[in-house]
């Protein structure tokens, strides 16, 4: 049975890398006594995939991993056992069962199904807010081109990220936005933040802001029918 686990990452664990998180969970799952499935052969490994790696220094309320288990005592039990093995900085938010794949179809892994991600950016300095700029969001999005520089083999190239920004608004103190996070069109949150700061004529070093991933989405339907749904919306309670 395939399980999708949603978790958060915050506090000092912002400074552990993507592979470190994977190593952490491999061990936590063992300590929790979860009946997880392994690959066969010499040096077996847990069957485990992660969605979209989080940049160093970022917090998240929407991290996902998929594992496979042979047996279980319900989602609540699994969630509690795993939570008991987590240090300050990682919380288990939801545990869902992924639907059995239809015959001849593979379940799309957490990694492959990601279409979009939403983020919040806030000032680390207490009391500092984006709220004075809420009027500028519409103007920012009204631009035809929002260019970012990318270092490639050929040298610096420019990429227009405007179409990959699905939504951008200011709520309370935070700048909130939803962007393309698919493997072909992935937009780094830092790009959006720095272009927005330019737009509102505010100069600040990267470290002045905390970026928080809020959710990862997959999509249903195409064209005008296309809707984004959180990665754990396709999972079921068990």
């Amino acid at each position: 049975m395939k399980i999708r686990i949603k978790f958060s990452k915050y506090g000092s664990l912002r400074f552990i890398g993507h592979l470190d998180v994977m190593r952490f969970f491999q061990k936590a799952i063992r300590r929790a006594g979860i009946d997880v499935a392994y690959t066969t052969g010499f040096s077996p490994h847990q069957i485990m995939t992660f969605a979209s790696p989080l940049g160093m220094g970022m917090c998240s309320l929407g991290e996902y991993m998929d594992i496979e288990v042979h047996s279980h005592q319900g989602a609540q039990d699994m969630k509690e056992r795993l939570q008991a093995q987590c240090p300050f900085g990682i919380d288990i938010l939801s545990v869902k069962a992924l639907p059995e794949p239809e015959p001849n179809k593979k379940v799309v892994s957490a990694m492959a199904s990601v279409s979009a991600a939403s983020y919040a950016a806030v000032w680390k300095e207490k009391g500092r807010s984006f709220c004075d700029y809420s009027g500028q969001c519409a103007d920012f999005l009204a631009q035809e081109e929002i260019l970012v520089e990318k270092e490639e083999k050929k040298g610096t190239v420019f990429r227009n990220i405007r179409l990959g920004i699905y939504e951008l608004k200011i709520e309370d103190d935070a700048l909130l936005f939803t962007v393309d996070a698919s493997s072909s069109g992935n937009i780094r949150p830092s790009w959006v933040v720095s272009r927005f700061l330019d737009f509102i004529h505010v100069a600040a070093p990267d470290s002045a802001l905390q970026i928080i991933r809020l959710e990862l989405y997959t999509h249903q339907g195409d064209g005008p029918e296309r809707t984004l749904i959180p990665l754990d919306a396709i999972g079921e309670e068990f």
Binding site: G11, S12, R14, I16, D20, R30, F42, P44, G57, A174
Partner: protein, 633 residues
């Protein structure tokens, strides 16, 4: 919207953490790290491994002491490692004091800074840790507000080159008298006695404690030591190592700290015994950990299960100097194989002799096609193997290789040393010949259709460094040019072999070995050189990319110290060595006898075959008390 916590409670700002490589090295908070309430703690201990985090975190000794200290309710032991060069620069530039991982508090505020000394090439990193902690580098310059700086580990068996940097050394195994030392510290503090008084009382009252400031050396005109004596009454002239006789009753961490980043040892380590029965004459560990003491099978089974449960690690490894000599190895391995299969845990079995049993086990726990076979003949000829008392014959090696080839292996690694006492070019050519013979054997044993690709032989040589408390402590060491010449000779000889295409040869640079040789047998005159080299920018000397031989050469010259005095000189029987005031249990007269036997190419049986009366029997335990046939004592 409720945002998750991103407040920074760390010693380093977000900006710094995001600018350095692997910030996880500096944040603490790992699984099983111990946190306590400072207000309820009487004594704070910072445990340091003076190398980068991933190496330091892999060290078993620190995990044992960390666990043991934190079982004391009134003690909080935290960890600190050498900041990597990127953070080192930032700490200096921004004037940020070095901190402990758990509390993130400055080391300067601790009661003790304990530094483990695992290899000589970390000596400049000791100074880095002191310096960044804002603790004066020399013991004599420290005041009442400084932590007590204590050293331990294998290099403390010749502490003299670094003696002025330490307030005291703990000689031997850590499990025995730390509690007494802590109690004495708390008592002197409560009574308002000063630092000097604590150190004096520690030297007098706690066995195994060496306080360098309380000893004085005089020298002969030729630079050798004339006398080495305590300067205060009641301070012992000879200090005997501390040793745990019953390992079954010693504490062992059930929940060692698990790093987030990939540590060098990303596995649980099961220590099965201490010491080694073999008595190879170049090996310091084989002498200073005498006698061999085993853990019981029952205890090991329990430890293994607890460790796996407590860490969730996916691999377990046995730790000992020579696992094949453990009396219950077969039962232990059977147990581990059953347990590990059930739990999907990998087993790694280093330091196993290659024979039918080990090949069978290895064939079951690893993929033979991906793994290689390791032999450590150490010398190329039987004559020289007799000199070093390495009880591994050509026939053992060929027989092992034959069985392995039939079992599906086709990769062989061989380890040798160059520059061993009495070595001739003939011995060196023996290295090439042995490699060639193993390669040829592969094609002999296996018909074409049974071969899984060509055979691959990797021969590696290191340079022999005479170490204190070994029979070779009297021996001269080669010069850098001699080493380089010998490596060239080996390379050339390998090229002349029929199967040379199948043999890959690796060797080290000689600079590092020469320096290690100076530190290994150096006296207190070396300390100013280390200090000078550090001031010139030497750091992380064991890392090829940061090692600066040119700066070391300058430091020796500026301090007027001739490195050759410590390396290439042959010592006389009567010479007083800088480490002679320490007693590791093995008598100097035994080591001398072994040195003479080496020169006559006479081998010595191991402790199980026949006790040689080395002196370690005075600890009344371990292999010395085992019943054996033909005991000599």
């Amino acid at each position: 919207m409720r945002l998750p916590d991103f407040e920074n409670r760390l010693a380093l700002s977000d900006e710094i953490l995001l600018s350095v490589d692997k910030p996880a090295r500096y944040i603490g908070g790992e699984v099983n790290a111990v946190y306590k309430d400072k207000k309820k703690i009487a004594l704070r201990f910072a445990m340091c491994f003076p190398d980068v985090y991933e190496i330091g975190m892999s060290h078993l000794g620190i995990q044992i002491l960390y666990d043991m200290f934190n079982r004391y309710e009134d003690v909080w032991c935290e960890r600190v490692y050498s900041p990597w060069t990127d953070l080192d620069r930032i700490l200096r530039r921004e004037n940020i004091p070095l901190f402990a991982l758990e509390s993130q508090d400055p080391i300067r505020e601790f009661d003790f800074l304990g530094i483990t000394l695992q290899y000589e090439m970390c000596y400049t990193n000791i100074l880095q840790v002191l310096d960044l902690s804002k603790i004066p580098l020399l013991s004599k310059d420290r005041d009442e507000t400084c932590p007590i700086v204590i050293g331990g580990g294998p290099c403390s068996y010749n502490p003299e080159p670094i003696a002025p940097f330490f307030d005291l050394f703990y000689i031997g195994e850590g499990e025995t008298v730390y509690r007494r030392l802590f109690d004495l510290y708390l008592e002197t503090k409560a009574k308002g006695e000063d630092r000097a008084s604590f150190l004096l009382r520690a030297a007098r009252e706690v066995p195994g404690i060496y306080v360098p400031a309380l000893y004085e050396t005089t020298y002969h005109p030729d630079g050798t030591i004339a006398s080495f004596l305590p300067t205060a009454p009641g301070v012992p002239a000879k200090i005997t190592k501390e040793i745990v006789m019953d390992l079954d009753r010693a504490p062992y961490p059930q929940k060692p700290v698990v790093a987030y980043t990939k540590a060098v040892q990303d596995r649980v380590v099961l220590e099965i015994q201490r010491g080694c029965i073999r008595g190879c004459r170049f090996c310091q560990a084989g002498q200073i950990y005498r006698p061999v003491r085993e853990k019981s099978l029952e205890r090991l089974k329990k430890d293994a299960l607890e460790l796996l449960e407590g860490t969730g690690q996916e691999e377990i490894s046995l730790n000992s100097l020579s696992s094949s000599d453990y009396s219950h190895l077969k039962e232990l391995v059977d147990f581990l194989m059953d347990t590990c299969r059930e739990k999907n845990v990998n087993i790694s079995l280093p330091s196993l002799r290659i024979d039918a049993f080990s090949l069978d086990v290895m064939g079951r726990v690893q993929d033979v096609k991906k793994s290689s076979l390791t032999f450590a003949p150490e010398a190329g000829s039987q004559r020289l193997r007799d000199v070093i008392n390495k009880g591994l014959t050509q026939e053992d090696i060929l027989q092992g290789a034959r069985m392995a080839f039939l079992g599906g292996w086709n990769r062989v690694k061989l380890y040798f040393m160059l520059g061993l006492p009495t070595e001739t070019p003939e011995d060196i050519r023996g290295i090439a010949a042995l490699c060639n013979e193993i390669a040829a054997l592969y094609y002999d044993v296996l018909p074409k259709e049974k071969r899984s690709g060509p055979v691959q032989i990797v021969a590696s040589t290191s340079f022999f460094i005479p170490k204190p408390f070994t029979p070779f402590q009297w021996a001269p060491m080669c010069t850098k040019d001699e080493f380089t010449h010998k490596a060239g000779l080996t390379k050339h000889a390998i090229h002349e072999q029929l199967n040379q295409k199948r043999i890959k040869y690796n060797w080290h640079e000689a600079d590092l070995s020469v320096l290690e040789g100076v530190f290994a047998r150096g006296d207190r005159q070396i300390a100013p050189v280390i200090l000078r080299a550090y001031e010139k920018g030497c750091l992380y000397d064991s890392w090829g990319e940061t090692f600066r031989y040119d700066l070391w050469t300058e430091a020796f010259a500026e301090c007027g110290v001739d490195p050759d005095f410590y390396t290439v000189r042959q010592r006389e029987k009567e010479e007083i060595f800088p480490w002679d005031f320490l007693d590791c249990g093995v008598d100097k007269s035994f080591l001398w006898k072994e040195w003479q036997k080496a020169l006559r190419q006479e081998i010595t049986p191991n402790c199980r075959q026949a006790c040689q009366g080395c002196g370690a029997a005075r600890f009344k335990g371990g292999v010395c008390l085992e019943k054996r046939e033909g005991a000599a004592v």
